[in-house]
Amino acid sequence: MSLLQTTKLTKYFGETHAVDAVDFTVQEGEVLALIGSNGAGKTSLVNVISGLLSADSGRIVFRDSDVTAQSVHDRITAGIARSFQLVNLFDQLTLLDNLALSIFSRQGMTRHFWTLAERHRAVWQEAFEILRQFGLESKATILAGGISQGERKLLDVAVAYALRPRLLFLDEPTSGVGTREKAPIMDIVTSIVRSQNITAVVIEHDMDIVFKYSDRIVVMHQGKILADGSPDEIRRNEAVTTTLIGTAHA
């Protein structure tokens, strides 16, 4: 059953066809890897689907509802969340605060100006529990600006996860971290996503990560979808190996 479907989705930047009439489908419950060389249109596609950029044309249908013209807020309410390639956190707030904000927002409580945030113990307990799931509980009271890059990447995903989305876009969750940190980050993220039955779309450049953790792979090239299939099918796809993977996995 498809959770998300785009039809002829298009985004141009001047003469550049960043997303060129893309038909893209995400099935419920899968971990899908979106790969392609730099400038292939992966992040642009996610930006358009998540609402950061507006589509020039085409449709986005999420859970049988057309969300193409919806605001970011409405898409989040519908169940779409995302993390960012360049980590986006609230650096002057603690890790707990970062997560609590997602929870307050999810519960429609960020409008409450008449109660003290600290009184909502259930929110803080949930925030702490999520930090524990992501292995960040020991840093709960540290400012987000003061933790390592790998931890920031995890927190970025955790903030999106705290919205309890149906569909989670992870834009290069291991970029900028050391080689040794990549697998532990992906282990944590994929185990949480799978255990909570969240559908995830992961943009990733590291092919070891892609082939190890994804159920399905979609390859983009010059704004279009070049290939779509299981990791084995993609590994054997000649067009993909020629344009993207080269000889490393061929």
Binding site: L52, L101, E118, F128, V159
Partner: protein
């Protein structure tokens, strides 16, 4: 859950309320220990502290630097003056309601335009709009009194007017001081709840990272507008409380240097913490008063202080005090 418990304990509001209660008690007894002139100066400081608290909701908590808060202060003051001149109102409570409504409407109009922008664009827009009000107050002299301004006599407090024969200085240093103090404490408490509420957290999120705030579902413009309204109303209340103290309102309080003074207060006290603007406003008021009496070059004196502050104490008085306390604790009580 032990870490959460520790976290909640650290954040406990009891400590803050206890400190607040002690300081409030001190402010209550202070007029008995200082002369009336000093008490009136303190009243001015408390009034400006309300304005600075309002301003800092935008600067410190939402990340928006307004250079136009003189507009709300002036609207509050002129609302009182108009009520005296055209409606012959004498009640301070009616003045407060009139000022609140006038500043709310002004903040709504200004905010509708300004919150669409951030950084320098927001600052310049607030500055420009406040100057429109200043020019109106200056040019429409048959309504506003022009540069002569409008006089505001001693108001009735809770329906009680100044007894005949009572000295106005005595009134301002006692009855009016306590009136200001009660409103100052109420405003401080309300603002403290706001900045520590989920809404206050959302404002801090917007300040830190607008994109991420958007992607946790916060509707940025709407939240900024609400913060702008609250900020404007607080500053308008300050304007209304200020005008009976001063006895006169002139276009000077709508002019941009007055907005600069409110910014100065936040920076002086430290806009990264809640009590910074309060401290800054009170200290600024004393500094300015004594600098004016000390030298004709008082603006230069204040300018030097501002430069020193930005270069040497970017955290402001309260921020620096907190840092020094933390350093001393680490150094001597380890």
């Amino acid at each position: 859950m032990s870490t959460v418990a520790v976290q909640l304990e650290v954040r406990s509001s009891i400590k803050a309320l206890a400190v607040g209660a002690v300081l409030s008690g001190l402010l209550v007894v202070l007029p008995f220990g200082i002369d009336p002139y000093q008490t009136i100066l303190l009243s001015y400081g408390l009034v400006m502290a309300i304005a600075a608290l309002g301003h800092n909701l935008l600067l410190g908590y939402t990340g928006l630097l307004s250079f136009g808060h003189s507009a709300f202060f002036g609207v509050g003051a002129y609302a009182v003056a108009f009520m005296v001149k055209y409606l012959h109102v004498q009640s301070m409570e009616l003045f407060m309601m009139g000022a609140l409504a006038a500043s709310l409407i002004t903040a709504l109009l200004f905010g509708f335009v300004c919150v669409r922008y951030t950084r320098i664009f927001f600052s310049i827009l607030t500055l420009a709009l406040s100057q429109v009000l200043w020019s109106l107050a200056y040019k429409f002299y048959w309504v506003t009194g022009g540069s002569d301004g409008l006089r505001v006599p001693t108001p009735k407090l809770l329906g009680v007017s100044l007894p005949s024969g009572e000295d106005k200085i005595n009134f301002l240093a006692h009855s009016y001081y306590y009136y200001v103090l009660v409103l100052f404490l109420a405003c401080t408490f309300v603002m403290w709840v706001i900045v520590n509420s989920p809404f206050g957290k959302a404002l801090q999120a917007i300040r830190d990272n607008e994109t991420r705030a958007r992607f946790v579902g916060i509707q940025i413009r709407r939240y900024r507008l609400v913060a702008f309204l609250v900020s404007g109303v607080f500053t308008g209340i300050a304007g209304a409380l200020w005008v009976p103290l001063n006895g006169l309102t002139t276009p000077d309080i709508l002019y941009w240097p007055f907005s600069g003074e409110i910014v100065f207060m936040s920076v002086l006290g430290g806009f990264h913490n809640f009590t910074g603007p309060i401290t800054g406003a009170i200290v600024f008021n004393y500094l300015k008063t004594y600098a004016v009496g000390f030298t004709v070059y008082w603006q230069a004196f204040m300018g030097v202080i501002l430069v020193v502050l930005v270069v040497a104490l970017p955290q402001g008085i309260v921020g620096t005090a907190i840092q020094l306390t933390a350093w001393a604790r680490k150094r001597f009580f380890r």
